[in-house]
């Protein structure tokens, strides 16, 4: 039995198979509509996350399965003091697979070590959010046709953004990737990631102005400056509008550059950009459903059976 706790839990070969399956689901959704008949997904969300939870639930419903679960800690036994270990032991008796979001880092690791069913980490605090990384990779592969040989700019909060850190780690396993980190000094990429890139001799550069580098990029990954990551409200207010991608800046970009964003977007991408064909962040959401469908099938080992 396998779990998905960290984006690097799967090898690149395993990811290729997962993405091939997701691509086939996209092409032939009707062939997968009953693959999970009689199976149940438990969505155990100890903190609200409408987008991720609904994506998981949609994925399971698309496969013909059903969904049980809770959407915040107050409506679970956690409010009575039940441990994660006990909760997953109980859930294992009800469901066939579990997607868990928890505000504490490492909660999914604890769940996996006590679970009788596959556990998918749907976000553990500021630590990991592997299905977002899979979504990002599938989107890039589907729309660029490859996961190698491109220059990707990551813009915004590179210090606290877990999706950015996970994506860099995942992409660093592919050939020919060049990173451009675009952030204010206060939100620059952590040193341990820079060290990892140096050790692997992966080219990168750090810049402050998006306009200076947008013309060099094949991909631009925008992020939100998150209020909850700041201890100081003044710092948040000063930095939240540092980068706003608008039409003027996008005009400096290549015709085939893609703009990705993990969503939710606040104001870091102007709505006037939404209609540009290079803006693919809403397509990204759709790929998130495909990749979660492929992940559920893979962890339940269903494609081997049928």
């Amino acid at each position: 039995m396998r779990h998905l706790i960290n984006p690097l839990d799967f090898t690149t070969d395993e990811l290729d198979r997962l993405f091939d399956l997701a691509a086939d689901i996209e092409q032939h959704p009707e062939q997968y509509a009953h693959k999970c008949d009689g199976k149940k997904l438990a969505t155990c969300f100890y903190e609200p996350s409408t987008r991720t939870r609904l994506s998981f639930e949609t994925a399971m419903l698309n496969l013909g399965g059903s969904v049980i679960g809770f959407s915040d800690a107050a409506s679970s036994s956690a409010s009575k003091g039940e441990s994660v270990a006990d909760t997953i032991r109980v859930i294992s008796c009800f469901a066939d697979i579990c997607a868990m979001r928890h505000p504490k880092e490492g909660a999914a690791t604890v769940a996996a070590s006590h679970s009788g069913i596959p556990v998918i980490n749907a976000g553990d605090g500021g630590h990991q959010h592997p299905t977002q990384t899979l979504t990002d990779l599938l989107t890039i592969r589907a729309l660029k046709g490859r996961l190698s040989d491109f220059t990707i700019g990551l813009c915004g909060d590179l210090k606290f953004g877990r999706t950015v850190h996970s994506l860099i780690n995942a992409l660093s396993r592919y050939d020919g990737i060049r990173f451009v980190f675009i952030s204010p000094e206060e939100l620059r990429i952590p040193d341990y990631i820079i060290e990892m890139l140096r050790e692997k001799q992966i080219p990168y550069k750090e810049v402050i102005r998006l306009e200076d580098t947008i013309g060099d990029l094949d991909l631009l990954y925008m992020t939100r400056v998150q209020r909850e990551r700041f201890f100081n409200e003044e710092d948040y207010i000063r930095l939240k509008d540092f980068y706003i991608l608008d039409k003027t800046k996008l005009n400096l970009a290549r015709e085939d550059m893609l703009v990705l964003h993990p969503l939710p977007r606040v104001n870091e991408i102007s709505v006037e950009v939404d209609d540009d064909p290079r803006a693919v962040y809403f397509k990204q959401v759709q790929y998130g459903v495909y990749v979660r469908m492929a992940l559920i099938l893979t962890l339940l080992e269903i494609e081997k059976e049928n």
Partner: protein, 142 residues
């Protein structure tokens, strides 16, 4: 100069950072054994200025010394048999350490989950760095 008698069989842990001997005494669970232990604090050292030393009279192999490498790789472990130093034992970094220190990350699941062991896993053997098994944060300085 303070003199402490020789031991017949056991270990002399030398070059302990001054002031850390009691911490190591507890982490080796020496408080829970019948072993005779001499704790020497602030001994003069040409190499370190001052240092602590632990002398433990016990059967060889009866205490788990792996944790020493995690705590301080500069500690020298002298193995004593028949009152003589038989060998200086090389400290090997343990693959993981359990319940030696606690994760201090307030966002880590260990901060709320009952009965959960505090486990640090060796992440880089060359640098001797460890990370919490759960939140992957570095251990607090000892």
């Amino acid at each position: 100069m303070l003199n402490v008698g020789k031991i017949e069989e056991g270990y002399v842990l030398d070059h302990i950072q001054a002031g850390k001997s009691l911490t190591i005494y507890h982490l080796l669970h020496l408080d829970k054994t019948d072993a005779q232990v001499a704790i020497i604090k602030n001994a003069r050292s040409s190499k370190m200025g001052k240092k602590d030393i632990l002398k433990v009279e016990c059967p060889i192999g009866s205490i788990d010394l792996d944790v020493l490498a995690f705590l301080d790789r500069n500690i020298t472990v002298n193995v004593i048999r028949n009152g003589e130093i038989m060998q200086k034992e090389d400290l090997i970094l343990p693959r993981e350490v359990r319940n030696v220190i606690k994760c201090k990350n307030p966002r880590c699941i260990t901060s709320i989950e009952q009965g959960l062991e505090h486990i640090f896993v060796l992440s880089d053997a060359t640098k001797g760095t460890y990370r919490c098994k759960y939140c992957e944060s570095n251990p607090p300085a000892q």
